[in-house]
């Protein structure tokens, strides 16, 4: 009896911070922007309920174009990150020797500990017209005058891959690490070629890691701000920027909230779709460790 009460009490004690956190900082705020997004502005301090903000969104191609562009660029970045990151993760998890493994992993992580801003800044220093690469190319004689390497989509994609590829590598390393080499050996022993073993054993085995990496990468990319803004400059066109703009330069919280809700719904939909298609679930992939 007594122990039962103690169990209950400790459950309540542990549950309280969790509930407070989730309800006050996650659920209610999301409901809050949902609520605000349904407020139509009629004039200064004059509001009514309705879907006008959503209708506006649909009627204004620049808004949904930006959302679509953000989405497809994010998907592109996600896929490219997977291709760029997989060989690295594979090397760290499966090929590198015990000791260099930890070192390589650390090496991979170091850029992660520097803020987005510094990283973007680094790219600017490198890529600007008076930057290092332009300078180097000129002094080697490959180009005549200086070239501007900033402010285009390729740069944005390269910069975005840079900021997110580590989030692809980490889950990949941790799943691949769990893969016993004997599975590969069995694959070869039973007659599989390198390609067969890769396709039928390595990739399916790494699937939870791939999905986890893709989800995190996609969400980070779709939600990123500094990299596309600073590297894309006048051509950035990123949906998060629209949200900030609504809040900061247009003081239009209603529209900003609407965009926020749309971004959340849209990215969640993409993630859900990805999980559906690969037959994974959120808890077993993202939260694996």
């Amino acid at each position: 009896m007594l122990r039962n009460d103690a169990t209950k009490l400790s459950l309540i004690l542990l549950m309280t911070p969790f509930i407070l956190w989730i309800v006050l900082l996650i659920i209610l705020p999301q409901l809050g922007i949902g609520y605000l997004s349904l407020r139509e502005k009629l004039g200064p301090n004059d509001y009514k309920f309705g879907f006008a903000n959503y209708v506006d969104f649909l009627q204004e191609p620049i808004y949904w174009n930006t959302l679509l562009r953000t989405a497809w660029m994010s998907i592109l970045v996600t896929i490219l990150s997977l291709f760029v990151g997989f060989p690295i993760a594979y090397y760290i998890a499966k090929i590198a020797r015990r000791r260099s493994r930890a070192a390589l992993f650390l090496l991979c992580l170091i850029p992660l500990w520097v803020s987005d801003l510094v990283r973007a800044f680094g790219w600017i220093v490198l890529l600007r017209e008076t930057g290092i690469i332009s300078g180097a190319l000129q002094s080697v004689g490959l180009i005549e005058g200086p070239v501007e390497l900033l402010y285009n989509d390729v740069t944005v994609v390269i910069g975005l891959i840079y900021t997110v590829v580590l989030f692809m590598i980490v889950p990949l390393v941790s799943t691949l690490d769990g893969m016993d080499n004997s599975l590969l050996e069995a694959g070869y022993n039973l007659g599989g070629s390198r390609f067969t073993v890769f396709r039928m054993i390595v990739v399916p085995y790494a699937m939870p890691g791939i999905v986890a990496g893709c989800i995190i990468t996609f969400m980070l990319t779709a939600g990123s701000y500094l990299t596309p803004i600073l590297l894309g400059g006048k051509n950035s066109m990123w949906f998060t920027e629209q949200i900030y703009d609504q809040f900061i330069t247009r003081y239009n919280w209603e529209a900003g909230s609407t965009f926020g809700v749309l971004l959340l719904v849209f990215t969640s939909f993409v993630v859900w779709l990805g999980l559906r298609l690969t037959g994974q679930n959120l808890a077993s992939t993202v939260a694996k460790d």
């Binding site: 599975l183 050996e185 694959g187 022993n189 039973l190 399916p204």
Partner: protein, 364 residues
Amino acid sequence: MFDLESDKITKRFGTFTAVKDVSFEVPSGSFFSILGPSGCGKTTLMRIIAGFETPSEGDIRIKGKSVLGSAPNKRNVKMVFQHLALFPMMNIGENIAYGLKCRGENRTDIKRKVTAVLDRIGLPGVEEKHVSQLSGGQKQRVAIARCMVLEPDVLLLDEPLGALDLKLREHMKIELKQLQHQFDTTFLYITHDQSEALVMSDNVAVMNAGRFEQIGPPEELYNAPKSAFVAGFVGDSNRFSGKVSAISGGEARITLANGQEVLAGIDDKALFLGAKVDVFVRPEAIFITRREKAAADSPQTLLKGVVDSLLFNGANSRVLVRLEDSSLVEVDHRIGQGEDRFNKGEAVLLGWEMHAGQCFAAKG
């Protein structure tokens, strides 16, 4: 004709030699085991045969042809891994079909063969099940079926029973042997458990620190070990250390540290008077009698001791006897066979037929 031949295989990792000059042949259709303690190089040898390691020296021949040049996926030796290495992302049917698919066989053939092999291992209809839904013993059989469906020249098994629990292991020993008969394929079996090797094999090689110490049928290893290592490792043994005090023909008289004398057969031509030796005697080869009765019996060796305790274990019960130098000797003791039950503290005499004692030069 030999299905598998290993010709002076040596494997070095850096300065460390994991396998040293190992040669053996496995005749078609036989069950060959390699028995040795952990780390002695068994797995390394098997990986060389499968093609996952390149030997530093020597040659591997399968059905008479050297395979050193062929990649692992081109050798017709299949392997059952220690932890089975069933593919967790495929169901049972897909696991078994994997090798056939790699070979490019057509769908209907694959389906037919998978069904057939599952029938043969007594697991019909489990194609759709997931690996995790099978019991340990069932997984074992699936791992074998996955190889056997490819009709390999040799099946390699790396301690496949290691992960199973006691009762299941006992059971699988017999089953494995029967599967080998059924498939009539050459098995090369690795283990550190002597009872597995003895029970299942036609021939056993005892391996120690990278070398083969002895190759022979189980009875030969058990009854006529050629080295102290084999005598100690294969089956239970009591070891007595002493010095050779007399040699005549194949017999030696050995004086133990406590001054008592024992007799032992001697094989090793290198043993000389005064050499330090170890004598190995199996518990079931030792006679035990109450001291007062001693005169009646006449085994060739007589050691004085006191019953320390009785270890009842059904058919495998033992009597622990403490000798005068306080070392313990295990003696086989079948209750109800011959003498009455011994009691703790009784003074007893131990003895054995001379040739039950195996005498080898002591190390170090």
